[in-house]
Symmetry: C3
Subunit: 154 residues, 3 copies
């Protein structure tokens, strides 16, 4: 039934919801990684945050915004902000186009897997792998967006 698309009884929606929830948590997990790096290295963005430095780094706590390791994590997080929110919304609209279940589920899996591999490669500084996985996730979202626009009306 057409009315039952956005229900967990619909396998395409149930799959989208699971991957959307995981992708959201992955993106939010970057905040935990940032806090961990800041604590361990004693490098903070606000003067009042220096109290959160771990004991081992208390004596070298500073306010700076150019520490290479922390800026790397922040660039990675920003890349998530550029890619994951569009996936979340476009994915929901794509579910409403009633795609074939297999094709849809593999879109969601490809997206999440590519973002996790992109993250590992960004933290490890591995190129061209980081770019390859980035493009994979990007193409997945664009593929869904094109199908949504094709069925929609301008």
């Amino acid at each position: 039934m057409a009315d039952r698309v956005l229900e967990f009884a619909n396998p395409v929606f149930a799959s989208y919801a699971a991957y959307a929830g995981l992708a959201s948590m992955k993106m939010m997990g970057m905040m935990v990684v940032t806090v961990y790096y800041r604590r361990m290295k004693g490098v903070h963005a606000n003067p009042e945050d220096t109290l959160f430095t771990s004991f081992g780094a208390k004596d070298k706590a500073v306010v700076r915004t150019d520490h290479p390791d922390i800026e790397r994590v922040r660039r990675l997080h920003l890349n998530d902000l550029e890619n994951i929110p569009p996936f979340l919304v476009v994915g929901l609209l794509y579910v409403l186009t009633k795609p074939s279940s297999d094709v849809a589920v593999w879109h969601f899996r490809a997206f999440l897997a590519s973002r996790l591999l992109h993250t590992a490669c960004y933290l490890g500084g591995l190129q061209p792998w980081r770019s390859i996985f980035f493009v994979f996730g990007y193409v997945t979202t664009v593929s869904m967006a094109v199908q949504v626009v094709a069925i929609g009306s301008l």
Copy 2:
């Protein structure tokens, strides 16, 4: 009826919609705060923006990206971008899990309240309060995401 989840007649959805709309406006309000600070202090990110400096600061209008007060507002705005879009999408999926009305409404209230208090503490430089309210909003979204993933299928 299952089909009627995403309707304003459903109190859980009506509550989600109101808090999602307010959280979106709160996040977009940060742009107004940034423009206000830039005007008053004459500190701009683009050379062509200096024309927007308020009369009192016309003679000291500059292009710089390291003014502490303005960077503080921008970090706060970025923190919203990291937290509010996931709440918006995860909250909608959580409504579709048909949670108990009371529990759901308190998730939405806790999230918005924690973000407003986080904002006040960020602007005032109040730690550890800022981190406490941040964690509160974070846990609210993760709680909803976990419930969505648990009902979804991978």
Copy 3:
């Protein structure tokens, strides 16, 4: 029928979906613009990315985060991240308020047009036009958010 709001047979939803898909692709297109500028100018954010410099700029590839042209593109992209995700979610909730078709479609068109014109003016450094188009898109989203909150319940 109330249950059939989120269907492509509903012209308001079909219009929203098309403009939401295009706005998502527009935002994601900023990543392509950034990569293009970085390649052409040989200016990268990570040491391992210098291998992506175009042939003409190979000998001057550097890691720096203050190149004016590239920072301009990144500020424009950040402005999209601040405006487009709220539009995507608020727009969907607005569709669920069952607005009149004409009014709704013109909201979506005004938003996308204003963001495209804002982009052109940002890249060209055209003020006050950039701010005028920014405000246009901003007001469109706030207008929808106010209607959602008005029908929702706190």
